[in-house]
Amino acid sequence: MTDGLPAVSFNDVSCRIGSRKILEHLNFQTGRGIIHGILGLNGAGKTTLLSLVLGLRRSYEGFVSVLGETLPGRNAMRIRRRIGAVLQETALYEELTAYENLLFSASLYGINNPKSRISEVLEILGLDNRSGDIVKTLSGGMRRRITIARALLHRPELLVIDEPTLGVDADARHAIWAHLRYLRKEGITVLAATNYIDEAQAICDTVSVIKSGSLIITENPGKLIGRAGCCVDLECSPGISGHIASEIQKSFNGGINRTEITSSGLSVFIKEGTKPEKLAMDIMKNYTVSGFRIRPPDISEIFSMLEDRV
């Protein structure tokens, strides 16, 4: 299945919509058989990037190659057979059942013996008992799973998925993550755009962080979070939060990335190696703090960290 070439390769790619620059000199590669995340805030250019991979947008500068073939090209139809796509909008026919939606999709890909293949993918996605349900009666999570099932019908080598868990509840989120991990195990490369750092950490082997259409970094999500350090949110009065901030910089010499005064107190971002529990206990001993919470940094905090580094 693999030919040693990257699944997706962007070489100095820029793209404009009207006068607005959406992607700017983008370079990155995705290995085969992994889940590669495109991490960015809303409007960062993630969906545009995926639309280039899917051949939906043909006007851009630079070179995009997908599964070893350069886009756009004469072989567009051949490449499409090798790619599965889960778009941001579920794009399902609401009045049809899950099964009928898949049957229609199977006709677009000319799948032989579609009934048995549909049964297979429905089983993989845990939808076999809901296949006769009309889509408009299903929950957001179910619909998302149908779109994944639909993208897998033709056994793609590359699955492009925009916001895998958009609008789904926590249970469905975990179920979808599990399905994506299963696909990786089956050797399918997944290119997933997300703006949730925890999602990237949960499923991705590598992530490319983009902001305003520019690539900031490509890294393992665990390392990225580690580099940002975890965060200790302290609940304290605004009057003492500034004082605590300056004091802990001294006492945890070099162990603090940065501090941020918030409406409820103080957020302290600590470096890898610094123990958050120890920091929290030390502060509580010396200052009036009503509570604390240890959490991973969110995406905007990671962006702040990366910008500080730049």
Binding site: L56, E94, E95, S107, G110
Partner: protein, 368 residues
């Protein structure tokens, strides 16, 4: 090729299932189609049943002949005998178009060879009605004179009919209404099928598939056209069984109805692709329907309405469709062009719309 056929069938099947589940839409389309037939019947009725009061203060031999002449003088009157006061009251309240008063002494005056005056009061709110009365009363007087054997009438009409049978206005209208129903029903169903792809975002699904998107879309439009045809068959049944209008050329009729459905389904698809939204597309189909219908020879042969309007009518497929339908039902040649030319024109319309729809669809998909 096989792949394209599979995609066309897939689109057809999916749209058929969707249509089957959209029972309300189908019901309304059927009702709408039949309503158009009745609607044009009302056009026919409104012009032919204007209420006119006859106040006969004479009640003599000649006044009866005059009333009879008046009744036959113009097709658009509904004469009612009334008392003078009631009639004047009714015309003031808008219940009557006109009051025609035959004065006392009318019969004796005629017998004596005197000039007799008939009072006519007209509600001239609509000059069309006023002119009808201005035409009808003198013609009734001439007719009356002939019937009564009065001297001085030297000219008689020697009528030669072009067609061996007379056809009522309503039977003429309802036949052409089939073209209007085809335009609206096929147009809306296919516009909805296509614009729905844009509204639900499924157009992107077609765009990333390894088959030309026109293949599944053709299947969808074909399914909506088939449903339109079924709806039209119901309207056709109303024309044949309710109005009792039996087609003289059934095969021509079948071909015309199928052509109408194909062309208007393509037109609807074009609007759906262009506007990308069902509501504006459906509104536009309705908005276009009446002007195109009226300028198609639906009321009378379009050539009778003047060269400019007749020339414009050639730009509408409804003109050719009405031409064929009137011939198929009544054997009328309502267009100067023969029926086979009308068929060729419809084929050209179908081809142009297909090509145009494909082009617009491609452009609109690229702009998604």
């Amino acid at each position: 090729m096989k792949q394209i056929a599979i995609a066309v069938i897939g689109g057809f099947r999916a749209e058929s299932v969707q249509m089957r589940r959209s029972k309300l839409l189908l019901f309304l389309a059927t009702v709408q189609s039949v309503i158009f037939i009745f609607l044009v019947s009302i056009f026919g009725l409104t012009g032919s049943r204007a209420p006119i009061a006859i106040v006969d203060e004479d009640r003599g031999f000649y006044s009866a002949i005059f009333t009879d002449s008046l009744n036959n003088a113009h097709h658009s009157f509904s004469l009612k005998f009334m008392e003078k006061e009631k009639a004047l009251d009714a015309v003031k309240h808008g219940d009557l178009v006109s009051v025609i008063k035959i004065p006392a002494g009318f019969s004796s005056g005629i017998e004596a060879g005197r000039n007799v005056f008939i009072d006519v009061m007209v509600d001239n709110i609509d000059v069309d009605m006023t002119e009808d009365i201005q035409r009808a009363v003198p013609s009734a007087i001439v007719n009356f004179a002939r019937k009564a054997g009065l001297p001085g009438i030297r000219v008689k009409v020697n009528e030669t009919d072009m067609i061996g049978h007379d056809t009522g206005f309503i039977p003429y209208l309802v036949v052409s209404a089939l073209a209007l129903a085809a335009f609206v029903v096929s147009g809306i169903l296919s516009a909805a099928a296509l614009s729905h792809e844009f509204e639900s975002g499924t157009i992107k699904l077609l765009e990333i598939a390894p088959v030309n998107p026109l293949a599944p879309i053709s299947g969808r439009i074909a399914a909506s056209a088939l449903y339109s045809l079924a709806v039209l068959l119901i309207s056709l049944s109303v024309v044949i069984f309710f109005y009792g209008i039996i087609p003289l050329h059934p095969l021509e009729l079948a071909a015309a109805v199928v052509m109408c459905v194909i062309i208007f389904s393509c037109a609807g698809a074009l609007l759906g692709a262009f506007l990308k939204r069902t509501l504006p597309a459906a509104s536009l189909v309705f908005g276009l329907a009446l002007p195109l219908y009226i300028d198609s020879g639906a009321m009378e042969p379009e050539r009778f309405d003047g060269n400019a309007i007749w020339a414009i009518a050639h730009l509408s497929p409804l003109y050719y469709a009405v031409g064929i339908l009137e011939h198929a039902f009544h054997g009328f040649q309502v267009t100067p062009e023969p029926v086979f030319i009308n068929f060729i024109a419809l084929f050209i319309w179908a081809a142009v719309l297909l090509i145009f729809t494909a082009g617009v669809l491609k452009a609109r998909m690229a702009s998604c």
